[in-house]
Symmetry: C2
Subunit: 337 residues, 2 copies
DNA sequence: GTCGTAGTTGTTAGCGCTCATAATTGCTGT
DNA sequence: ACAGCAATTATGAGCGCTAACAACTACGAC
């Protein structure tokens, strides 16, 4: 590991193949106008030497890399994790690698620093998961000559945005509950600085209002099962509650347990709908009816918008809003009067 | 975004500050022997121009980057996701970025290719999550001059390895159940090509054997709640089963639901212990007693071993085995005779 | 036989940085 | 005031690649 011999470079390959380094470069980049025979000789030399092109040199020479920067909060929340893995794989299909910067909080400073580090590496573009305002602020500092896609970000900002239609999802969830015969639906929301939360609240309210149903007070929580549990304990004690829409599945899980402990049955006494369709949602007790966003589609759309920017060289202001679907399972039933 | 002016480079800063580019380099790298006044002038020029150092050029010049390559299977399994985020953050503390390569399968080829791509970028080191044999095979091709840490890999291979002591965890789970008074413990295992699964099976068997308990047949499954559910349906029909150790929490969730549906109560009729302590395990019905590996510690240890290799310039053959702890909740009780 | 042309290959000059080294500066002490 | 020395700063040569252009091959047309 003490560097005894330096790794073979293009010139070494060239020498061995008896051509110029430029020809090697041509072969590597699949340029036309290289005789088949020469190409073969170069290929042979490459494998013989175990040559691997130096990306850094290429980046330096071309001014751009085949790497996409990804910024997200450190967390094991299902959504971001699912988006990341999907994105990495999708990027690979297009010949890009993904460079991840995790930040501990979504405050402006740390997000801006993460972006800055990524830019130092001359990433070809940036995908930022910015579900709260402060993270969006960090994007303001960016010059508009760098390809950028904002996932789950502020819908009011004029940059490329890919997002799940939270409002439509929440609307569907609420309507589904109403359609089952419930007079109204309670909502346990996520942190109120998240756009996701805000959208879900809006959709819930709209569904209620349109249906002429009373809008009960909001039950605020965060995304955790723990806070769902606490909220559930309150819900269980209010006997006019017959239907609840939880802002995500883990919240729903906590609620489920609280209701169970208090002897309120789901769906017989109370109906419940979640959001996210985490892989295990179908195995809750009872299996949870929930809203399923397509995270792979989010990743695909993000990459698409990003590549379009990289290709054309400028912001296009495109947006993609993906409508989630309702997955009906066993946690919803008509109220017993 | 059409590149009208090129980004400022070191020489531009130098010119503005009235020094040589080398002095700028010194300031950037915190070298001593720069007069305070000069340093200030350079700093001023840097901010005035909005200069950002070009990483690629630095990599080219030094032959090494400040980036760590990470290879893992595309998945939303809790363990790998948790390890990744923890690693990314830990790496940052040490001035490293993390470059993620997701692979769709853990077969040798795709893993080897992922590693190869990372090496093209001259990453300073590699962290590979290789929980099955085929992924480990891909590591054999690597020359030993590249820093490497294998997470959850084959314990028999002589490379740096960080792993959770699966066997100890399984042993603790099984013993816990035995200590509650159960005559024996059934085990629902993960995919049998995973080392994690194998270790858990071994630990379970050892605990049983040492206690002189009968070793019941293994119930094979994969990591999913769905397969836990299917297995649980069988378990529920066998009335000599009083205690079950599930290879992970999601499996346990599926089992919980199957048992519930069949009218078998947990823990009154059957006790259950899981593995992983996913954030929501405490909100299952009933709250799940489980084994908690410390994924942050895994990330920390991995980075430590990797940095040691990077520093010293060679493989040290170090290993770290992290003992998980038992988190006792409500899914275990004595059998009623 | 010479010229044009397309197809192929080679040459040169950077990209922006760090390293090794050389040159300069500012202080000592005498 | 000047050698002597350390602290500071400057110079030049790469790192391995690509882009632009130059140059060399055939080969048929004139």
């Amino acid at each position: 590991m003490v560097k005894p011999v330096r790794e073979p470079a293009m010139t070494d390959v060239a020498k061995l193949a008896g051509v110029s380094h430029q020809t090697v470069s041509r072969v590597l980049n699949d340029h036309p106008n290289v005789r088949e025979q020469t190409r073969a000789r170069v290929r042979a030399a490459i494998t013989e030497l175990g040559y691997r092109p130096n990306r850094a040199a290429r980046v330096l020479a071309t001014g751009t890399s085949q790497v996409i920067g990804f910024v997200s909060r450190t967390s094991t929340l299902y959504g971001p994790a699912a988006t990341l893995t999907a994105l990495a794989e999708e990027a690979l299909q297009h010949g890009f690698a993904v460079n991840v910067e995790s930040v501990r909080t979504l405050d402006r400073r740390p997000v801006a620093e993460a972006i800055s580090r990524l830019r130092d590496q001359r990433v070809a573009g940036l995908v930022v998961i910015a579900p709260v305002e402060s993270a969006n602020d960090a994007l303001d500092d960016l010059p508009d000559d760098i390809p950028l896609v904002n996932v789950d970000g502020d819908p009011r900002r004029p940059i490329e945005l890919v997002t799940v239609d939270q409002e439509a999802g929440a609307y569907a969830a609420t309507t589904h509950l109403l359609a089952a015969g419930h007079r109204t639906v309670w909502h346990v929301s996520g942190p109120n600085d998240w756009f996701d939360s805000q959208g879900r609240v809006t959709g819930w309210q709209r569904a209620l209002t349109e249906a002429g149903a009373e809008v009960p007070p909001l039950m605020p929580a965060d995304w955790s099962a723990a806070s769902g549990y606490r909220t559930g304990q309150i819900l269980a004690r209010m006997n006019d509650v017959t239907a609840v829409f939880a802002a995500n599945d883990h919240l729903a899980l906590g609620i489920l347990r609280a209701l169970h402990e208090c002897g309120r049955r789901v769906p017989e006494d109370i109906s419940l709908v979640g959001f996210d369709d985490v892989p295990e949602a179908g195995y809750f007790i009872p299996p949870l009816t929930t809203i399923r966003p397509d995270f792979e589609a989010v990743a695909r759309a993000s990459l698409e918008l990003l590549l379009a920017q990289i290709r054309t060289g400028r912001r296009l202001g495109d947006r993609r809003m993906l409508t989630p679907t309702l997955v009906s399972r066993d946690s919803v039933a008509p109220p017993h009067s």
